[in-house]
Amino acid sequence: MEFAYYPGCSLEGMNKAYDQSARLVSKSLGIDLKELNDWNCCGASAYMSIRELRAHLLSARNLAMAEREKKDLAVVCPACYTNLTKTNHYMGEDARLRRTVESALKAANLQYMGTVKVRHLLDVIVSEIGESEVRAKVTKPLSGLKIAPYYGCQFTRPLGDYDDKEFPTMLDTLLKWLGAEPVYFPLKAKCCGGILMTTNESVALPLVRSLLDSATQNGGECIATICPLCHMTLEAYQGDVNKAFSTGFKVPMFYFTQLMGLAFGFNKKELGINQELISSKALLEKHLEVAR
């Protein structure tokens, strides 16, 4: 299975480990991720906010390049997923937008006919690879590990119709295949507030707190994420939450691809777990023989 792979800007920076682990587990499952050549920013929220039309142009350039390679696009960041999908969708339904974007692309000798499907890697793994092949790769099942599966906002909202928009279950399913125990997590698709952290801390911090509260109260020992921004927010601001609310959270965070990697028998360094801010050492030692 071959895809043009779109890592997105935040996987080049603070969420490098997500990129690393995603490539690793994809390869072992036979998903061939070929990085989209010279990809550009998807036109994420901050850009879309004030330059809507040009944000579509940014996404369209990526789509056009994937189309030229005759590949579908695999994405790991839900925000990138949403922006690329939105452009795909809106260009299909709004003729005027299509004309404007098409004519702008022409300036760079590009064209986009609308043939590229944008897929989130989690969807590819669960829907295309499937249970038996994933289970077959599990050599070190995550038995007994209680995980709060956290999807965040833009995995299915507004346009991801492969899973429920209010209570998605794909990640839960995948974690079960890995032998882990996904816990009940009613806030699994709520906003982490990350985008407001620098601007409106007083709004954002309580959101992070409620997520940590709910995850741990329901027995979660760690949190699995699929979004780099969520991951970063929950990881980097736990200290601030503890300070602000006199709590004592030390909840380790994993990208879902890192958990897959652990179950597939890769070592922590390969998966970038050594880059974490909150140590998972004790937790992993308790449940797995991965003292490596």
Binding site: C9, S10, E12, G13, M14, K16, A17, D38, W39, N40, C41, G43, A44, S45, A46, Y47, M48, S49, I50, R51, E52, L53, R54, L57, L58, R61, T82, Y90, D94, R96, L97, R99, T100, V101, S103, A104, L105, K106, A107, A108, N109, L110, C153, Q154, R157, P158, K165, K190, C191, G193, I195, L196, T198, T199, N200, V203, A236, N274, Q275, L277
Partner: protein, 157 residues
């Protein structure tokens, strides 16, 4: 939040655009899209918020002291220059402009990230940046020529 999305729509219907743009509501929107998928009237509220942000920025009508517009602008400038976003540089840029003291507060966390190799210093510039800007230029011409307004307004969405 000054106004709920429902009140925003009511205010727009009443022709009170300036009041809406100056409220903090639009800039508090995190694009979580709950409203969009739940709205029983099928209004794409998140898209509407984008449109309002764009209008606020265009008319220079934003809430006093709000940081989000500054971030958005810095984000756009960076993408237009490099083709991608460089998180570290973006944050530095914005904080220098708005609250430099916060940079100090973030130092310890920053050091930790650097130690783990999670803060690359140099931005990556894509090869196609000049052709990307050519496209953007062509689009601006179309916009000025009146072929397409600045955004896909919520009304048509």
């Amino acid at each position: 939040m000054d106004y709920s999305p429902r009140e925003i729509i009511a205010a727009l219907r009443a022709g009170m655009l300036d009041r809406v743009l100056k409220s903090n509501t639009v800039w508090l929107c995190t694009s979580c899209y709950y409203c969009t998928v739940r709205c029983p009237s099928g209004i794409k509220i998140t898209d509407m918020m984008y449109e309002l942000k764009r209008l606020g920025e265009e008319f220079g009508l934003v809430q006093k002291g709000a940081m989000s517009p500054v971030i958005s602008k810095a984000f756009v400038n960076m993408v237009d220059k490099y083709g991608r976003v460089h998180e570290t540089m973006l944050m530095m840029n914005v904080l220098m402009k708005t609250k430099p003291w916060a940079l100090l507060k973030m130092m310890p966390q920053g050091m930790k990230l650097i130690a783990r190799g999670r803060l690359p210093f140099l931005p990556h510039k894509i090869k196609g940046i000049s052709e990307m800007n050519k496209c953007a230029g062509a689009m601006t011409v179309a916009m000025v020529g009146g072929l397409h307004p600045g955004g896909r307004s919520a009304k048509e969405a």
